[in-house]
Structures are given as C-alpha cells and as structure tokens.
C-alpha cells in the first residue's frame, strides 16, 4: 500500500524503542524519519510521538532536549500530531505517576492511576468511538497503569472500560492521542494508522485546541 504522503517525523527523546512504530509505517508504505532536533520537529509536516518510560523521566528528557517547546509550537502551528500511550499522557498538565512534574499542558486535565483490577492493564480492550467521526470502534492492545482524565469531555473521542470508563482516545483540532498501541494492534491498529496518515495535513494557519 504505497501512499503519497509527506515524511512523518517520529519524536525520539532518548528513551524509546521506536522499532515497532517504524515497522508499522514501513508496512503501510509511509516515509518516516526519527528526530530529537527541535527545529526539525517545528518544521515537520506530520508528527508521531510514541512515549515510553515514566511520566517524570519523559518530561525531563523532553526539557533537556528542548523538545517540550518544540512540540507545543508544532501543535500550535497546526501540524497533525499523534501521541501514543505515554505520548498521549504527556499532552496533559500533570500525572499521579510523577507528582510535581508539569506535563506539556497542551490539553487540560490530569493523568491518574487505575484503582481497581490488575495494574498495569495488559491486553486487548474495546475502544468505543463516540460520534460518527473517522475513528472506528474495535479492539486494541493496551499496556497502561495510568489514564488521562481530560477536563473537557468534548475532546474525548473514544472510551474504554477497565473497571470503569476512561478516555482511550482524545482528539482536538490537529491533535489525536491514543492510550493504546496502534502499532501493536494488528489489523485494527494498522487501519487506524493508515486513516490518520491519510488525514488532513498542516495548513500552516489553524490554531490548535
């Protein structure tokens, strides 16, 4: 499936194993590059931010590399942005995982820990899309101990039940963020990525959320 698409910049903040995302993009025929350079992030046409590790160590690494400001600028300039797992949580203001550490604050709300069931949640869970947008419901692969609690319900694009409902996808203007791993979610995940890749590109002028 060769797609006519601009290069996707995958943000590397020195923690992550990016092989899975790279392999998935290769399979979809998308062009990608890996970058930890703020100027390249600002100039990107499309950004994927896969997060791994702990909230605190991620934010520290982002700040050390001045990637926090670059990500905020890219999002403010309208660049299509996909946050995955911890890369979703990073967009919010704070996390119970690392009290006192500020998140990127692109979206209002906090990240909290599951209080019931085995933690982390590991496995395939149902993602129920709200409304009839481009997002499709289905089963996706999760590994998470924490989940995002957005202040604004209107940005919640899908929910998932793990001893209670939580926001598994948020979407606001050019920002899309998912708690699951589309790159590990088989066909459903590949279709999700492909639809995101085919979505609108930066128009250079629109404001973010």
């Amino acid at each position: 499936m060769q797609m006519e698409s601009e290069t996707v910049v995958i943000i590397d903040y020195g923690a992550g194993n990016l092989a899975s995302v790279q392999n998935a993009l290769d399979k979809l025929g998308a062009k990608w590059s890996v970058s930890s350079n703020p100027a390249e992030i600002r100039a990107a046409k499309r950004i994927i931010f896969p997060g791994v590790g702990s909230f605190g160590s991620m934010m520290e690494r982002l700040r050390e590399r001045k990637l926090d400001a670059a990500i905020r600028d890219a999002i403010a300039s309208g660049t299509p942005f996909l946050g995955i797992c911890l890369g979703m949580q990073a967009l919010f203001e704070s996390s119970e995982e690392s009290p006192g550490v500020k998140g990127l604050g692109v979206l209002e709300g906090e990240v909290v820990k599951f209080q019931k069931g085995k933690v982390p949640q590991v496995g395939w869970n149902e993602v129920k899309a709200r409304g009839n947008g481009a997002l499709k419901s289905g089963y996706f692969y999760f590994v998470n101990s924490y989940y995002c609690r957005p202040k604004e319900q209107k940005i919640v694009a899908a929910t998932t039940d793990y001893f209670g409902e939580f926001a598994s996808v948020v979407s606001a203007a050019n920002v899309m963020a998912v708690q699951y791993h589309p790159e590990k979610s088989g066909r459903a995940g590949m279709e999700f990525l492909q639809r995101w890749l085919e979505g609108p590109v930066a128009d250079g002028g629109s404001s973010s959320c």
Binding site: A19, S20, N23, K27, V52, G53, V122, G123, Y162
Partner: protein
C-alpha cells in the same frame, strides 16, 4: 472490558521453528516470521518465541529472527530462552521484541529482573516460572525443568512481582505436554496472590480446558503450543468456544 488472551508459543532452534505447524500452503514451514503472521491472522492475541537452541553462540541468529518477525507481525511478541544479561535484553528489544521472558537467569540473579524493569520498563519483563507440585505446594525448577531450586513457586512469584516483573508466564511441569488441562489450582493460587497478569501454560488440551483456565484458574492469558501446531484447533476455534462460554475474547 479487557479480554482474555490466547497466546501460541513457537519453539525456535537456530532461528527455525521446530515441531510441526501444519498450516497449509506455507512457503517455508520453519520461518518464524511467516508462521507468526499466520497465527496473527488467525486471531492470536500475542506470540511467544522460545529459543531452545542449545549452543550459546546463537545470539546473532536470535536477533535476526526477532528483526524479521517484527517486520511481519503487528501484535505483541515475547522472546525467551537463553537471555542472561541486560545487554541481551537490550539487543532483543532493539531488534523489535515487545517483551523478554526471563527464567533461569532470574533465579540465579534476581537483580536482573529489577535492572531490566528499571531500564526498559516493567511492561517488557515477563518472568517465566516452571513449577512442579511438591506435596501441597509447588517448587520452582530451572534449566529447562532439570533442576529443582527448592524455591516455593508462590513466594517466588511474589518476589519477582516486587522486583518489577510485568507479567508471569506460569508453566505447570506436571501438566506440560500431557494435554490433560492446565493446573487450575496452581494458576488460581498464583493469580490470586499477584496484582500482575498471569499467563497459564502447560496442559492445554480440550476446548473445555481452555475455558477452565480462565473461569476457574483465573488466568489472564493462556499459552498453548501443540494444540495449535498439530491443528487440533485453530485460534479462531478456541476463541469462538470461549465466547460461547461467556468469556470475553477479541474476535
């Protein structure tokens, strides 16, 4: 609702899948990537590749295999067998595996579990426990089941959870290879004691045995090898049966 996982396990020797896997029209019946893809298409939720190569100069072969598998399948997979050091773990993860399974090395050096969890996150640390009944409890065996460590399986499971294991792969040596059903008592005991997922292994046989390990054994996932390789059932058959029994699975 989180679904129960069905995990086929493939034994790999020198980069080739061994034991019969009777998929029709396979170009290469021993190719881990091609077999992995077939299982993924059948609805497997994850895969485990267990390296059973006896020789120790096998590291590059395993890494090449992991790289090839990671390019072909887009569901999580775990690699186990012969992983001894943080460097081994790093190489396997960099090649594209999602998780590593530690067994003998964890018993010999429990700090390894802690180091790997700290370095790469708990989510990629699976500790494999080979347990064999010893009166009213179970002992932990290592070196492919040849050596009794004298450790109590429940106490060891709790200890590795503390050290940072993200999941437990729990094999009943009494049931392994028998197709007589999983050891439900062992599985239930370990699962009830822990706050991390338990993958039950050893004894998969009838469809009922798979339903039982979830409904009565409280397993979070079930691993099976020969029932899939010999084509007694497909992953789809198993999942359809579980669904009929009211067990949540990804269809």
């Amino acid at each position: 609702m989180l679904t129960k996982r069905i995990i086929p396990c493939l034994d790999v020797n020198a980069g080739r899948v061994v034991k019969g896997v009777n998929f029709i029209q396979l170009r290469d019946a021993g190719d881990p990537a091609e077999l992995g893809r077939r299982y993924s298409e059948e609805g497997a939720d994850e895969l485990v590749f267990l390296d059973i190569t006896a020789s120790s100069d096998n590291r590059q072969t395993v890494r090449d295999m992991v790289r090839n598998v990671a390019r072909e399948i887009f569901i999580p997979f775990t690699v186990g067998g012969g992983i001894r050091t943080v460097q081994d773990v790093q190489a396997i993860l960099r090649a594209g595996a999602d998780k590593v399974s530690l067994n003998t090395a964890a018993v010999e050096n429990p700090k390894l579990v802690e180091q790997v969890a700290q370095e790469f996150g708990k989510q990629c640390v699976v500790v494999a426990i080979d347990a064999k009944r010893n009166g009213k409890s179970w002992n932990v065996f290592v070196k492919g089941g040849r050596q009794d460590t004298g450790l109590d399986a429940l106490a060891w499971a709790e200890q590795v959870q503390e050290l940072g294991a993200g999941e437990i792969l729990l094999t009943s040596m009494d049931r392994d290879g028998t197709r007589a059903g999983y050891d439900l008592e062992l599985t239930r005991a370990v699962s009830g004691r822990l706050n991390i997922p338990v993958i039950a292994s050893g004894g998969a046989g009838s469809l009922e045995s798979l339903a039982d390990v979830f409904s009565r054994g409280n397993a979070d996932a079930a691993l099976a090898a020969s029932i899939f390789h010999d084509k007694n059932y497909s992953v789809q058959d198993v999942k359809r049966y579980l669904q009929e029994k009211g067990i949540a699975v990804r269809m």
